[in-house]
Amino acid sequence: MAIRTEPFVINVGPQHPSTHGVFRMRVTLDGEVIVDMEPVLGYLHRGIEKLAEGRTYTQNIPFTDRLDYLASMTNNLAYAMAVEKLAGIAVPERAEYLRVIMSELQRIASHLVGVGSFLNDCGAFMTPFLYMFREREKILDLFEMVCGQRLTYNYIRIGGVSYDIPEEFLPALDKFVREMPGFIDEYDQLLAENEILLARAKGVGILPKELAINTSASGPVLRASGVKWDIRKADPYSVYDRFEFDIPTGSTGDCYDRYRLRIQEMRQSVRIIKQAAEQLPQGEVLTRVPLRLRPPAGEAYGHIEGPKGELGFYLVSDNSVTPYRFHVRAPTLINLTALRDMMIGWKVADAVIIFGSIDICLGEVDR
């Protein structure tokens, strides 16, 4: 006699310890197997794109900090690049090198949070999370030395960087860069070859190559599926073409590959910082732009390789002090397109892991 079963719907609801913010998934379960999934967004919508249309270009910079609050420097950088493209402003060399150093430090910090929360979701009760936060504290101390804040920096401005680095920055940076590879090795020793983690994450949540390209995924999610595409090499911006670094790629596109990829990207970032700190030229750091900048009418799209993917700003100007249209191409929102296909067929416990391995930040998903 066959037992009659029927699927039921649960809400992995907005308040949940591991949805990285307020994100809701309505999951249809058949026993423990997921048969359907529907994401519900919008719980953190603040209307940044509309608010930005009422403020001048310089006043918009603190707003861009608050989009992806875990990686504010790269947000500022993308916006500044878009405005410079629009208005045709040149940036001095020292400023470019400082921008690269800040971006790469920010990339390490963001990956530390991403990997830490992923491992926390796997169940390792905060131990790797706290170890990674120890390193993140060191990076935030460096940022505090330069610009005064630890989370929303407002440092990279239109036409360069707002202030020059103090003298104790370079020795501290040097010390950090020397110690960091040792700590990354420690993280590897802790959990990289752990059998339980391999069982949980290897082969789980596979994103095939064609699907990744068709849904315009970008960043570590795309590279883990085997596509070697990184904007720093494909369309170099700032002074990235003067450094040598590798682009790690994965092979299968499962959660384990994404986790390993982020760790390897951290190593490459340390390499870039070392080279940039050696080659840092002297000079000024900011081209003065008027407070109420009036760029000529037109449009520009400035994009960078942020820690979570390709972050782009599309600006349309109509020759007034405020932008006419300010649109953010948020990488994590677009990476989430493939979430449903990645999740179907797996179990409830895997839903949380797959979602954590994409490493979203609700501030930019909902803007």
């Binding site: 403020r55 310089t58 603190p62 110690e179 059998e195 391999l198």
Partner: protein, 171 residues
């Protein structure tokens, strides 16, 4: 799962955690111990030097949110004076754009960060609360002369400094 590594992966992880038992913890016992903030710290207060101000309202125009409310008028011998200078600390995001915009360098951002109040109305600060005083330490953000006088920041990178930390300015 395969135990391809014969359980060695788990053993290595456990050896690392065991080693951490013997390291000094990095916790700061707040509020008895406080760390020195950086010289360019953007804390949660704004400090205004009334003597140097020429009432140009550049700060109010630079603010992204419009938190600064300034009312000026022409006083005796044709100089502009400030009638009302009010800052809504609840809306302010402490970005420092107003400090950078001031031409006479009379506006400073403060180092203090313990500014919680019990009522929302107490967050709106008028002219008297914003004045420069001995109880508030201005930070060196956009003010290089002040920056040179401040003590060095405690950083986790310098562990010996980190372990010996008592802050004099704030209490």
């Amino acid at each position: 799962m395969r135990f391809e590594r014969y359980g060695i992966g788990i053993a290595k992880g456990m050896a690392l955690t065991f080693k951490h038992l013997f390291r000094k913890p990095i916790t700061t016992q707040y509020p008895e111990e406080r760390l020195t903030v950086s010289r360019r710290a953007r804390g949660n207060e704004l400090i205004w030097d009334k003597e140097l101000c020429v009432a140009c309202t550049a700060c109010a125009r630079a603010c992204p949110h419009g938190c600064i409310e300034m009312v000026t008028s022409k006083g005796a011998d044709d100089k502009r004076i400030v009638d009302k200078f009010q800052l809504d600390t609840g809306r302010c995001i402490f970005c420092g754009l107003c400090v950078e915009a001031c031409p006479k360098e009379c506006l400073f951002i403060g180092c203090g960060y313990e500014k919680a109040t019990y009522r929302r109305q107490e967050l709106v600060l008028g002219k008297e609360d914003l004045l420069l005083s001995d109880r508030k330490q201005p930070s060196g953000y956009a003010r290089p002369k002040v920056e040179a006088t401040l003590p060095e920041q405690t950083m986790l990178l310098n562990r010996k400094q980190y372990l010996d930390r008592v802050k004099k300015w704030l209490d």
